[in-house]
Amino acid sequence: MSDPTDTRLRADAQASLRKIHERSLGARMWSWRYVVLRRIAQVTILLLFFGTAHWGWQFPGDTPLLTGNLSSSEFMGLLPMTDPLAALQIFLTGHLLTREALIGAAVVFIFYLLLGGRVFCAWVCPVNMVTDLAGWLRTRLDIKPLFHVPRNVRYYVLAAALILSAITGVAAFEWVSPVGMMHREIIFGLGFGFLALLAIFLFDLLILKNGWCGHLCPLGGFWSLVGRGGQVRVRFDRDTCTHCGACGAVCPEPQVLNLKKLEERGLVYSGECSNCGRCTALCPENSLNFDLRALIRKHNAQARD
């Protein structure tokens, strides 16, 4: 966490940081609200899958409630959902998809396209729970970086996944994906997938901060590209911001909180933002808030006048 006594900061920024440090216990808890909500969302989704698979949860009537897993599923016998990246890889292996799978992929794709950012990453993906824990622990233990890896490596991994799918004839990422492994092994029983997760945990904790989700995961890269134009964004009020930098310190993708870009655009523009909400809950000046893109434009125009 940034230091309120850091003399390189402006006086008002120091005051902002002091506000955070002096927060009451209640306020401190309140600043965890999005983390709690995200965990609830992630666990609920897992639970719905698990309950359907193991306890035969059915609704309505005798249709399975939520069958399958994040790769492909069906909700209440009505709504098919398919991971569009998995579908794309299968398509690249030279196999036509069924109509059901295509509709499912379109449903998921459009949902996140409209919502925006990497909502999947922060609110749905189970691996996020592991990497968040590693990131949190790493900050607490103050482990210094070993080396620097550019954030855009994930797009190369994504490209490689698509190319390798075409070359090898199997969906290249799906066959090694820790996301799929974790989900499958929780829902359908244990294999050695937890070793892969342990590896990710240790990698994130000791080697590269936010290493997997923030640098390598091609699924995250995919959603970054898709979520660019989404509607739910974090709004930035430049008049209240004191440049204390507290947001960047908690953000798993701090490059999206580049202050110069924020001031230009008035919102967190990059699709790499996972809409996790950590910054909005933490900002002592309340300068960052979730909002709809259209409303942000209006808000900022008014603020400028």
């Binding site: 359907t52 698979a53 399975p64 069958t67 399958g68 897993n69 790769s71 492909s72 599923s73 069906e74 098919p80 398919t82 991971d83 998995a86 579908a87 299968i90 292996t93 030279g94 196999h95 998809l97 069924t98 059901e100 799978a101 499912g104 190369y156 991994v157 490689a160 390798l164 070359i167 090898t168 004839g169 199997v170 969906a171 290249a172 799906e174 066959w175 090694v176 799929g180 492994m181 499958r184 092994e185 829902i187 359908f188 029983g189 244990l190 294999g191 050695f192 997938g193 070793l195 892969a196």
Partner: protein, 259 residues
Amino acid sequence: MTGKTTTRREFLLKAAQGTAMAATGGLLWVYLLRQEARAHPYALRPPGALVEKDFNATCIKCGQCVNACPYDTLKLAGAGGSLPIGMPYFIPRDIPCYLCPDIPCMRACPTGALSPDLKDINDSRMGLAVIDLENCLSWKGLRCEICHRECPLKGKAISLELHPRAQSKHAMFYPIVNSDFCTGCGICEKACPTAEAAIRILPHGMVQGRIGEHYRLGWTFDTEISQDFKPAETAPPAVQETTVPDKAPGVDYLNEGEP
């Protein structure tokens, strides 16, 4: 970033380093895929599964077939096991496929990896039952025949061949599997009473040969008559090698009752 301009040398070095990283990563990845996705000789797939190569490509590893199976037959392979990761399989000796007429597993499959072309469950070919003649109780002369009785396609997929014996009242009843009908459901393997099943399901590729084009079986009706191959106008009547006595010394008292 430092404001200094990168020299040509630095640029080339960077490019080389990047390429090396990508190549190493890519090779490792391909190796992993090869290891995982090589067509597995022992995996038994749900009814309607496409051939292994296409199945590997299209199955999205969602487990909807697993959830749909009312008998808990199907499982998804875990990571690091001996079967390709995340794909459905079954072990007949644990739970066989009970050949649901409405094929729920296939209908649940969103990708067509379990092909909707399968209209009748009895046309599914998950594998082929193979009998270990040395350990089959019936082939030892005991009246077991459990596999025959349990087979949902009894009389077609497994039939009994009666072999009377000259010296004994007891005939031999040999269970014989017919690959034209066997679905590979594995109910027989599950039912077999020997300590290790003497009848088991194997993928076709592991047990079935192929005769090749160059053999002409003149005595079958399927053989195509061509310019350079004409079977005899009228086949000589088949000669019965051993004459079976009117009343066999062996008696099927189990199925027909004691005379």
